[in-house]
């Protein structure tokens, strides 16, 4: 899964309307799951969107263990020195602030020191099965200004917010794309989905991509109230 460790990058992503899911323990409140910290976990669609909009360099990487074992002594010494220099600088600052040695804080960094475009797109799309169409639904909604989050909990692929989820209620539950021409809408799922939508105040949205025009078509479904 795509993860982001740099807080500045997370801020930037949020500006672009990609919020992801914070997943790491928050060390100051380590006994709960509501407020979490880095890493930020993204959806495959987020990465595709960033790549296709040229907003991020996608770097495809060797097993972690191999990388670790491949560190030469020389490089290891260099890496170790960088870390120690960083820590020493931090210690200096802490000493001055406190003015002690045993109360100095050794912090674990978030980001790593150790670690054609079309080809990459292809590789990313391969991460999907038909399911690729779902990305085009994602894209169309992003283009309309929606912020998308994982929607499994609400009976969908995504849920869509009209802006930053910190401030706004979500509006839509988006289903996985279906074949525009040949796949019948599963009416039973639609009935339960739209019923659920009434209680959680979200419309149940289904969409697909027309083959020739490559246009995305959405329909929003709502229980009529009787």
């Amino acid at each position: 899964p795509p993860l982001v460790f740099d807080i500045d990058h997370i801020k930037l992503l949020r500006k672009w309307g990609i919020c992801g899911v914070l997943s790491g323990t928050l060390p100051t409140a380590a006994q709960q799951n509501v407020f979490l910290s880095v890493p930020l976990r993204l959806m495959l669609e987020d990465v595709l969107w960033l790549h296709l909009n040229n907003l991020a360099d996608v770097k495809l990487i060797q097993e972690g263990d191999e990388i670790m074992e491949g560190i030469t002594l020389e490089r290891g010494a260099k890496l170790s020195k960088i870390v120690n220099d960083r820590l020493n600088k931090s210690f200096e600052y802490q000493r001055k602030f406190k003015k002690i040695e045993s109360s100095l804080f050794i912090d674990i960094a978030n980001t790593s020191m150790i670690l054609s475009r079309d080809d990459i797109s292809d590789l990313l799309f391969k991460q999907y099965q038909g399911k690729m169409q779902t990305y085009f639904l994602y894209k169309a909604l992003r283009d309309q200004g929606y912020v998308l989050s994982p929607g499994g909990r609400f009976g969908g692929k995504f849920i869509a917010y009209p802006g930053d989820p910190l401030r706004f209620h979500s509006h839509l539950t988006i289903q996985d794309a279906i074949d525009y021409h040949n796949e019948p809408i599963d009416l039973i799922s639609m009935i339960s989905g739209a019923r659920l939508g009434t209680t959680v105040k979200k419309l149940w949205v289904i969409g697909g991509v027309a083959e020739e025009t490559k246009e995305t078509h959405f329909f929003s479904i709502e229980w009529a109230g009787f």
Partner: protein, 292 residues
């Protein structure tokens, strides 16, 4: 929260404040320890584990295995403890970053399992991988009336009879064994777990929600404190085997409860791009109940 953006400065300010609060919290909550309480854990690639040369801390009660005084941590435990700032992760010496640690997961599945592990650990649960046995291995296993009409009707469709009591259980892969938080947990001899958990990633096309065939085989592989047994902690000591104790040394309401809670059960943890939901799957047996 608001319904939608309204273009006012005030709303922008409110959003700015909310977002600032979040990022300030994340930036200010730094992981790590003081020099005084420093405990180093060294990652050992070929074992995919970490070793603590001078282990200390209360986490040792539930995590890691001591060898003939070094403490070995499973990879999940290693990442979890580093992430909450209990130990410092090293490679031998380079102090590793969180990103380094996450790059060491061997598969997406392992990482998903870690997310679930950490989620439950944060709530105080104690977890062990299902395929890992403790030193002391404990197991549970060593027509004139309408009813006449119904009895005529109900012999047509066969139904699966599930074990409903101790005798039937005896006559009869999951990811984690889970114990509720308790202070006298012994990792050498933990006894039967309270739950068993299966981790499933809903967005991975190589995985699928278990079919009934698979569910049945999962149910029959369960070995935990079967919570539905009405004949049964002290009782559990006599009703589990290493008997463990020796080693250490109105009807319609009841029916409704049986129907609603079922029998053997396990938990599915569903991973959806970082959001985790839990579902309890329980065997039920409507075929052995009559409600006419």
């Amino acid at each position: 929260k608001d319904y939608e953006p309204d273009g006012t400065n005030l709303q922008d300010l409110l959003l700015y404040n909310a977002s600032k609060a979040m990022f300030d919290t994340i930036s200010d909550s730094i992981r790590g320890t003081t020099v005084k309480s420093e405990v180093r854990g060294y990652y050992v690639p070929h074992k995919h584990q970490a070793v603590l040369l001078k282990p200390k801390g209360s986490f040792m009660q539930t995590m890691g295995r001591a060898d003939s005084g070094e403490l070995w941590l499973d990879f999940h435990e290693f990442v979890y403890l580093a992430e909450r700032g209990t130990i410092l992760p090293y490679y031998r010496e380079i102090l590793l970053s969180m990103e380094d640690l996450y790059s060491l997961f061997s598969s997406q599945q392992e990482m998903d399992q870690y997310f679930v592990f950490a989620h439950l650990k944060r709530l105080g649960f104690i977890l062990k991988p299902s395929n890992q046995e403790a030193a002391v291995k404990t197991s549970f296993f060593p027509y004139t009336t309408s009813p006449q009409l119904y009895q005529g009707l109900n012999r047509l469709v066969r139904s699966v009879a599930v074990p409903k009591n101790k005798k039937e259980l005896l006559d009869a892969p999951l990811t984690f064994k889970v114990w509720k938080p308790h202070s006298n947990f012994k990792k050498r001899d933990p006894g039967l777990p309270d739950f068993q958990v299966f981790v499933y990633n809903k967005n991975d096309d190589l995985q699928h929600f278990p079919t009934y065939k698979e569910l049945r085989s999962m149910f029959s592989s369960l070995d935990y404190k079967f919570e539905f047994l009405s004949e049964i902690d002290d009782d559990w000591e006599t009703n589990s085997y290493v008997p463990r104790k020796e080693y250490i040394h109105p009807p319609h309401i009841q029916q409704n409860r049986r129907l609603k809670t079922g029998y053997r059960s396990f938990i599915i943890a569903i991973m959806d791009n970082g959001l985790i939901s839990f579902v309890k799957m329980s065997e039920a047996d409507f075929g052995s109940e009559s409600v006419w």
